[in-house]
């Protein structure tokens, strides 16, 4: 027990690293993923900007990236990571693959969220003479807000899982902690506490996301 109290700063440090990695890569991945998700929807046949080439290219790239497990993706893109941040280890080294991993994930989830916007509503505003940009930004994105929040919630949770693997490149974080103490030194206590922290974190994020989505839905 005493030993565990001594380790509180270690847990704190790891949690902080996880939060930094998740937060930063989520932010960038959202900036990339949301526009790609929009593009994925509006370039489809019979949508606002039908364009087969853009749609199929995007669709294929996303599928390829999405089919790689994170640990493999991380290794596979080491040259790219080094090109961008100058290193392939540590937090910086982990954030690049985390972004590459999460952006297509977010764009797929965005696609689903935007697809849930009633086609009839879009048609109604087309019929009223709204421009296509107005329809994307003022109708689709707004109507899809609950879905977008849930999509980002799922992406965040996925990211937490991926950061655990980022421990493999010495990025730190809770996953790294579990790996070093729990797996390599067979320290059951540290392992259990790490698991508990992760479970609580994921629960919190999911509840927060659900709450926000419900708030946005405003359904009686």
């Amino acid at each position: 027990m005493e030993r565990l109290i001594e380790m509180i700063p270690v847990f704190g440090q790891s949690l902080q690293e996880t939060v930094i990695m998740v937060g930063f890569s989520l932010f960038i991945a959202t900036l990339i993923g949301i526009p790609l998700g929009i593009l994925l929807v509006i370039t489809q046949v019979n949508h606002l900007f039908p364009n087969k080439i853009i749609y199929h290219t995007l669709n294929t790239i996303i599928n390829i990236v999405r089919s790689l497990p994170f640990i493999i993706l991380m290794v596979a893109i080491i040259p790219f990571t080094e090109l961008i941040v100058g290193t392939s280890i540590g937090i910086e080294g982990a954030i690049v693959p985390l972004i590459v991993y999460t952006s297509p994930y977010i764009s797929r989830l965005m696609e689903t969220a935007l697809h849930d916007v009633d086609r009839g509503v879009i048609e109604a505003y087309q019929a009223m003479g709204a421009s296509r940009t107005q329809i994307i930004f003022r109708i689709m994105l707004r109507e899809a807000r609950p879905g977008i929040v849930l999509c980002l919630t799922i992406a965040t949770i996925g990211l937490i899982g991926a950061t655990a693997m980022a421990g493999a490149v010495g990025a730190g974080g809770l996953g790294d902690l579990a790996l070093r103490y729990g797996y390599q030194q067979w320290d059951i206590e540290v392992m259990i506490i790490t698991v508990v922290i992760l479970v609580v974190l994921v629960q919190l994020i999911q509840s927060l996301g659900n709450w926000a989505a419900r708030k946005l839905k405003k359904s009686a």
Partner: protein, 345 residues
């Protein structure tokens, strides 16, 4: 106001070509309420959507308000669409906006000043009877209330035409009635031209001036509602009218009457409005040596005008019957000989 000429529309479904519209023409005058009725799949929804080019016809011309819609550039088309409001069967409201914002959003998109929007939306909500619901969300409204929001939204851009795409089909009869009243009201108030499609003859009967009956992508019959109701030409039209009043003579009676030969006839008499009060039948029996038997009688209101339909079985001397029918033709709106079958030219 609206002139559709020889509209064709075909879709590619898989590797099959489906023809939704096969050369439809119709003309709607300003201030008219024009109804298009047909079963589902008849092509009426596609037809309605060609007016604002939500559906682009494969061939044909669409002229709205003197403007050839098919030659407009995207920006001009958007401008033209602002003058054509539309309401839908499933309302298509924004679920994340309250009632006020649902009506206001299109005005904001059009960069209307804030204070103007506020006044306008309040007026419109007053018009549709939802002033107290401005802050409610669509999910908190009944179907009828949602359609009222839809109507207010459609009127926000001051359109000259309102398209109604099965606007009452998802509503119960009573709510339908009140929505139709509202449409009639705004038609009169703003001299708004309304084109509606429906599969309910009640809707046509209640508010339309003109009607077109569609089947398999073509208009099979069109004319003033009163004319079509008093003398339908096509079987499909008769079937629709039957849903409002059923004046079919049972087959047994028809064949019995047929046996009696030329000494008797079944006559369908349609009379309008005040003619209902004239003692036509009394005069008929008194002036001509014929006997008149009433087989069926019904009176209904078509957009405020009474339309009565009688089926008379007249028997007597041939000449007397002819004279009697001539007298009827002079006195009432329409007389058609049902049996023996009249040869139509």
């Amino acid at each position: 106001m609206i002139q559709l000429t020889d509209i064709h529309k075909s879709y590619q479904v898989g590797n099959k070509q489906v023809e939704a519209l096969k050369g439809v023409s119709l003309q709607v005058e300003k201030g008219q309420i024009y109804g298009v009725i047909g079963f589902s799949g008849a092509g009426k929804s596609t037809l309605l959507r060609t007016i604002n080019l939500l559906e682009k016809p494969t061939s044909g011309s669409v002229i709205v308000n003197g403007q050839n819609m098919l030659t407009l550039k995207e920006k001009e088309l958007r401008q033209a669409r602002k003058k054509i409001g539309i309401i839908f069967q499933h309302f298509n409201l924004l679920s994340s906006y309250n009632v006020f914002d649902n009506v206001a959003e299109i005005l904001r998109m059009n960069r209307v000043p804030k204070d103007v929007i506020k006044r306008k939306v309040e007026d419109l909500l007053g018009l549709v009877g939802l002033s107290d619901k401005a802050n409610a969300y669509p999910s908190q409204l009944s179907g009828g209330q949602k359609q009222r929001v839809g109507i207010a939204r459609a009127l926000a851009t001051d359109p000259e035409i309102l398209l109604c795409d099965e606007a009452t089909s998802a509503l119960d009869p009573q709510t339908t009635e009140s929505i139709l009243e509202l449409l009639l009201d705004i038609n009169r108030k703003f001299n708004l031209t309304i084109v509606l499609i429906t599969h309910e003859m009640q809707v046509i009967k209640k508010i339309c001036d003109q009607v077109a009956i569609m089947e398999n992508g073509v208009v099979i019959e069109q004319g003033s509602v009163l004319d079509v109701f008093s003398n339908p030409q096509e079987q499909t039209t008769r079937n629709f009218i039957k849903t409002v009043f059923d004046d079919q003579v049972p087959q047994e009676i028809l064949s019995k009457i047929k046996e009696t030969g030329p000494v008797s006839k079944i006559v369908r008499v349609a009379f309008r409005g005040d003619a209902a009060l004239d003692p036509v039948l009394g005069t008929l029996s008194a002036r001509f040596p014929i006997s008149t038997n009433l087989l069926y009688g019904s009176i209904t209101t078509i957009k405020g005008t009474a339309l009565g339909i009688l089926l008379l079985h007249i028997s007597g001397e041939d000449q007397a019957i002819q004279d009697g029918i001539r007298f009827l033709r002079e006195s009432v709106y329409r007389v058609d000989i049902v049996s023996p079958e009249e040869v139509r030219s």
